[in-house]
Symmetry: C2
Subunit: 347 residues, 2 copies
């Protein structure tokens, strides 16, 4: 195709921004222009992409005047400041922050699950929260077939979900503890709050701030976004979101109850055939997903599938995926690929 495909990445110097660049390349996304944008603080940095140096520019409304698709991952406040400006200038905004996710006029898309929502966009499409994305990729095929009524999920979330500085803090606190020094956390679990706890050799049952109901904002995202993506607000979701000392890859212990009965082997077949899912489920061979091995891959890995011992139609699963890729950058690029398809552009 000869038409230009002009892509911008806002937040290009962050963990997700860098993964977006990498993912565009891995997916051979047919961009003709790639504009890297960031705040004034990061402007001027040079990023090398396939040997070509790209200078990161400071984002302004005019930055988007010649852009077709803009991937946003620079924080919710930045999205609120620039998304409508970019849309007004003709760009499609794919926003990785939580700014627009629950906006009724904004589709919230996981391409394997609800790609059909793409056509309803009015310029902005939201990329869901990482822990929600991997859960719905695995559960949507089961929901379609058996109607999920109940989800109880406990997460084991990686440091990278809190950004590059959190990865650094995990490394530093881990090294301190290994060396017998006192760890000195200053960021996790929530930078802007008063108390900081070491993540090295620890687990922290707080991700994001608490809401009035005693659940964290991260946990409530898993409730609300799951409802919106699956288009079903009747599913009872009970989340506990926990940060663990892992660099890349979120894991989730998930218990579900379905309305319709299932045969466990059919569940395995459904998941083996599901788009975006890799089944890793053979206890006799100690085969099950682990974040250390899922890191760097695009798929959602599912294993430990077993019928509940008590509940009729109760099922347990273990779901792992790279939170920076499928949980953020790759899902955003997949949404951009829906745009390519709509425009009739082939890679």
């Amino acid at each position: 195709m000869s038409r230009p495909v002009r892509v911008a990445i806002l937040g290009a110097t962050g963990a997700v921004g860098k993964a977006m660049i990498e993912t565009l390349l891995r997916r051979k996304f047919p961009f003709t222009t790639l504009k890297l944008l960031a705040s004034a603080r990061s402007a001027g940095q040079v990023v090398h992409i396939q040997g070509v140096p790209y200078t990161v520019e400071e984002a302004t409304p005019e930055s988007f005047a010649d852009i077709d698709v803009a991937l946003f991952s620079a924080g919710g406040d930045i999205s609120l400041r620039f998304a409508k400006e970019a849309v007004a200038r003709g760009a499609l905004v794919i926003d990785n922050t939580s700014a627009y996710r629950m906006d009724k006029s904004v589709p919230l898309i996981v391409p394997e699950v609800n790609a059909d929502a793409f056509s309803t966009h009015q310029g902005i499409i939201a990329n869901p929260n990482c822990s929600t994305i991997q859960m719905v990729v695995a559960l949507a095929p089961l929901h379609r077939r058996y109607h999920i009524r109940r989800i109880v999920v406990s997460t084991y979330q990686a440091a990278s979900g809190a950004g590059e500085r959190a990865i650094e803090e995990l490394r530093e606190t881990s090294r301190a503890i290994l060396d017998g020094r006192a760890p000195e956390p200053s960021l996790l679990p929530v930078a802007k709050l008063k108390n900081h706890y070491p993540l090295g050799f620890n687990v922290i049952p707080q991700i994001d701030v608490f809401e009035e109901n005693g659940f964290t904002k991260e946990e409530m995202k898993m409730v609300r976004e799951t409802h919106k993506i699956l288009g079903d607000e009747s599913i009872a979701v009970t989340p506990t979101a926990v940060r663990v000392p892992v660099v890349y890859g979120h894991s989730e212990a998930v218990y579900i109850e379905t309305e319709l009965p299932f045969v466990v082997d059919d569940v395995r077949t459904l998941l083996r055939d599901a788009k975006g899912v890799t089944l890793q489920d053979d206890p006799t061979r100690q085969e099950y997903p682990q974040p250390y091995f899922a890191a760097g891959h695009f798929d959602v890995f599912v294993g430990r599938i077993r019928r509940d011992l008590y509940a009729e139609n109760g099922l347990n699963l273990w779901i792992v995926s790279d939170n920076i890729l499928k949980g953020a950058a790759y899902n955003a690029v997949q949404i951009a690929e829906l745009w390519l398809r709509q425009e009739g552009i082939t890679a």
Copy 2:
């Protein structure tokens, strides 16, 4: 008191054995003799206790001839070999292995929960699995008052639960990954099985071997032992047991449903007043249990208490405790203290 209190520890050189010695001292357990026993391989090692050198002896049936209370923590096969020999020679055996836990003639005791079962022993008392102990300490008061019908629990278990070599392997694989070297695991998740995975910066959803039903033995212990300790086989327990890169302290995300309605503030009061529980539950002050801070303490820490968003009588909790202390050594010493009380011996 002038009567002799002769204590033996079998498996004195292991992680739990050492913690047993330490716990006897911290509790000022009034022993007059302390005999340290181990396999032939470890015999001859010298352990210093409050400045006094103790030589570890090789265990034989005759080792127990002059012993009142023997704490066993040297593996299930060793317990099967020596427990009845020790009982025949007049010792009370408190066994930390799984050898006798489900034996109907052996009480399985968590002193805060079912100390009354002590009187039924026939020479052997079993110490439950670590992940079960901390869960029932927190749940028993709620079960008594509100009748728990359903438990869904996901664990975050420390390396020390798999012994001292597992702690070493966690440290080595962590350091390798920090230094950019390939980790070389040879022990976890299950030494005798074929595949070994790094625990450093990873989570492994396998603890112990798999049973036919797809659950691991560790998970099934949480079902069966919970039933036995609470004396109620009707509770539906759904466990997922996961190893995380933590040295000491198991964490558990627990969802329960009760038969009777509750007020959340009453739940907090019940737990605040419960023996062996420390309530750490103030989201506004970011107060919740974490293994890094629970390590070295005897209590079970409970927080993140919140009513479920959907289920009537549904409640969520986060339970953390030192798996080597309350999960093993301290619970065993508490059982020995029940014997002291029966004998009318005061510390």
